[in-house]
């Protein structure tokens, strides 16, 4: 799929022409946006795409003063399809940047074809440890986070809170194992049980019975997408919500809250951003996003928005000369844009150094449910893999 809807590509181009009348003869900046837009996880890709396109629209269809052309492709959450699509972006569409990518297994597949072709890859979400560490690349920048960090927030919180005994649960795949490892990096108390569930599991009653039997002080889980919706509902229905605090990452957010609703009230998550984060750029972003699309943006939308702003900053700093890769890289590294997350700068591995918060699901005055900042857990936090990256 080129551009969410064909008209969107055409629309942007038209916008760009209208605006660029005043801009001196410019080649359009071409960005390939890779997002998961089919299957049950499509909503994550949709948030990211909408966030990215909103930023481009707000800048009048330009990126850094140059007319922008955004080609949106659907990776279908299949690594080989993603490879095929990015080859098309690079070899046929000749894009200057590839941005987006929701899932780590897709990122693992596309990082080589993109960076190997000396094209800049700006992650809008996935941040696997290999790319943050030994596999880092001068052509890879993360506008999101390193996967472990959000889990570390909860580990640190559980430790600081003095919880003596916890039960951990994640799907049985690499990201799930990484999640529990991230939590345990900061949590030093007793782990009564580590439960690995099947990917795509529907019913969690068996696991919840085990949680109740272990009588922990807190429960930590990483259960993305529809699995998270099922778990949150069933956790509440089993009565565990009243007795065992629910700590999570990527489980309760604005993509799942429309389905869980008030069942998730009071549940905790860890993130570098929440819709109510008190930063001027963020207030404007959330208001514009809700007006444009009619739903509350999630983390993925904020990161997509920032990715577009980051690219714009680099285009502007280089005056649109995108063939000078060193100059573009230097410009990207400055992260000279107003992030919706406030504090934002790049580490040596070109992943962000940013603040992380404990967020809690609450009700807005208008009755809608969203995640809200509860407390800052890490200030200016870099990830644990940066020193394994040979880049300085």
């Amino acid at each position: 799929m080129r551009c969410g809807v064909q008209s969107c590509r055409a629309g942007l181009a038209a916008l760009a022409i209208a605006v660029s009348a005043g801009v001196a003869a410019a080649d359009p900046v071409k960005v390939g946006l890779v997002a998961t837009l089919s299957g049950p996880s499509a909503v994550l890709g949709q948030h990211m795409r909408d966030g990215f396109l909103l930023a481009v629209k707000e800048m009048g269809g330009t990126l850094g003063g140059q007319p922008a052309e955004v080609v949106v492709v659907d990776d279908e959450l299949k690594p080989d399809v993603a490879v095929q699509k990015v080859k098309g972006l690079i070899e046929r569409d000749k894009v200057d940047f590839v941005a987006g990518v929701v899932f780590s297994n897709v990122m693992g597949a596309v990082v080589k074809p993109v960076t190997g072709a000396e094209t800049f890859l700006i992650s809008g979400n996935a941040g696997p440890s290999t790319i943050a560490g030994a596999g880092c690349s001068p052509f890879f920048f993360s506008a999101s986070y390193q996967n472990d960090q959000n889990h570390e927030v909860l580990g640190q919180y559980a430790q600081a809170k003095g919880y003596k005994k916890v039960v951990l649960m994640a799907p049985n795949y690499q990201a799930g194992k990484d999640a529990l490892a991230g939590f345990k990096r900061y949590y030093k108390g007793e782990v009564a049980d580590e439960i690995y569930t099947q990917l795509g599991q529907l019913d969690f009653s068996a696991e919840l019975a085990k949680v109740a039997a272990a009588k922990p002080d807190a429960f930590f889980t990483f259960m993305p997408g529809g699995m998270g919706v099922n778990l949150v509902k069933q956790y509440r229905q089993a009565g565990l919500a009243e007795t065992v605090p629910f700590l999570s990452a990527f489980t309760v957010d604005e993509t799942t809250l429309p389905a869980t609703g008030e069942a998730a009230l009071g549940f905790y998550s860890g993130a570098a951003w929440a819709p109510d984060l008190d930063v001027p750029a963020n207030k404007a972003f959330v208001a514009a996003f809700e007006k444009e699309y009619g739903y509350i943006p999630a983390l993925y939308a904020a990161q997509g928005y920032d990715a577009a702003k980051l690219i714009a900053s680099a285009v502007k700093a280089t005056g649109g000369k995108l063939t000078d890769k060193d100059a573009v890289r230097a410009a990207l590294k400055k992260a000279d844009f107003a992030s919706v997350r406030g504090n934002f700068k790049f580490n040596t591995n070109q992943f962000p150094i940013q603040d992380f918060y404990l967020v809690k699901v609450g009700k807005r005055p208008d009755g809608k449910v969203e995640t809200m900042i509860a407390e800052k857990v890490f200030a200016e936090d870099g990830d644990a893999y940066a020193d394994k990256c040979p880049m300085k």
Partner: protein
């Protein structure tokens, strides 16, 4: 003439088109065609048992995935030579097919579909739990395989003709097997097992051998697929992919039958199916995000329009 069209016309035309493709295609189109040809090899191997013997395997992607992991794991362990890795991949997939086939072939019809799914799912979950090789995140290949120590698979042209050559070899092998007495026993057992038994022939060993050969060829396509994407992932083994392969074979058979140029159980038709499905998906997804809303009804129409003619394959 009709007989010629039914046996050789279609594959000949398709192979000539594929051989001439580098004359006009850019590197992206070549990689798209490579993807289509690799799926075609897998589809042809599936058609050997599906069209030839009436055994619908719903676990064929697992065989392909085993081949891909064969290349990926060997490379992670320092063996990049295709002349070693590809035969190993084929042997691994072939042996897996023989072992699971020995059990699966006790069943028929939908029960066979489901038991092959079961073995495919087991392989999928094993791949997912291979933490040392990336688990669910998959495994990145350092580079494409070497051939006799040379790196020429990296060139798009060399890769194109390598895949094309292996695909042609696979198609010839399957075509020859199906035309030989071996294939006649398979088909006869598919139409009327009792009569074959009455002739004193036990179809079981024939089916098992066919299943093993199909497995090895699927393994080869997996080895090529790993080289194309330079990445292997448990997603390669998922039942969705097995379903896609069945769709390619059946759609190809029906389309070829509608053109009076083949049908199920003919390598040329499976080749046509794979090319049609891969290229149509790419073309439609270029038009709209919601391409499946067009592609789904197209499949339905193909079946409805195919009608009785679909039986025009080998009888």
């Amino acid at each position: 003439m009709t007989r010629f069209a039914q046996t050789l016309g279609l594959p000949l035309v398709l192979f000539l088109l594929l051989a001439a493709a580098p004359l006009w295609a850019d590197t992206f189109t070549l990689s798209l065609l490579a993807r289509a040809m690799i799926f075609a090899l897998a589809a042809i191997s599936l058609d050997l048992i599906l069209g030839g013997a009436g055994l619908v395997s719903f676990g064929h992607a697992a065989l392909m995935g085993i081949g891909a992991y064969g290349v990926g794991i060997l490379m992670a362990e320092g063996v990049s030579e295709a002349l070693i890795a590809f035969p190993v991949a084929m042997a691994a997939a072939g042996l897996f097919a023989l072992a699971t086939g020995a059990l699966s072939l006790k069943t028929r019809g939908v029960y066979f579909i489901m038991i092959t799914l079961a073995f495919g799912q087991m392989a999928f979950f094993v791949a997912q739990s291979l933490s040392a090789y990336g688990g669910d995140d998959g495994l990145s290949l350092a580079a494409r395989s070497l051939v006799a120590g040379e790196r020429w698979l990296r060139g798009p042209l060399a890769f194109h003709y390598t895949v094309l050559g292996l695909l042609a070899a696979g198609a010839l092998l399957c075509g020859a097997l199906l035309a030989a007495p071996f294939g006649r026993v398979l088909r006869a057992a598919k139409d009327n097992e009792r009569r074959v038994r009455a002739l004193g022939l036990d179809p079981y060993p024939y089916r098992l051998v066919a299943y093993g050969i199909a497995g090895a060829l699927a393994g080869l396509s997996g080895a090529l697929f790993a080289n194309l994407t330079e990445f292997v992932s448990p997603a390669f083994l998922s039942w969705h992919r097995s379903g896609e392969l069945i769709v390619m074979v059946v759609a190809g058979g029906m389309a070829a039958a509608a053109l009076k140029a083949g049908g199920l159980g003919r390598p040329g038709s499976a080749l046509l199916g794979a090319l049609l499905v891969v290229l149509l998906e790419e073309a439609l997804s270029d038009l709209t995000e919601h391409w499946r809303i067009v592609f789904g009804p197209l499949l339905v129409l193909l079946v409805l329009a195919g009608g009785k003619r679909a039986r025009g394959g080998r009888t």
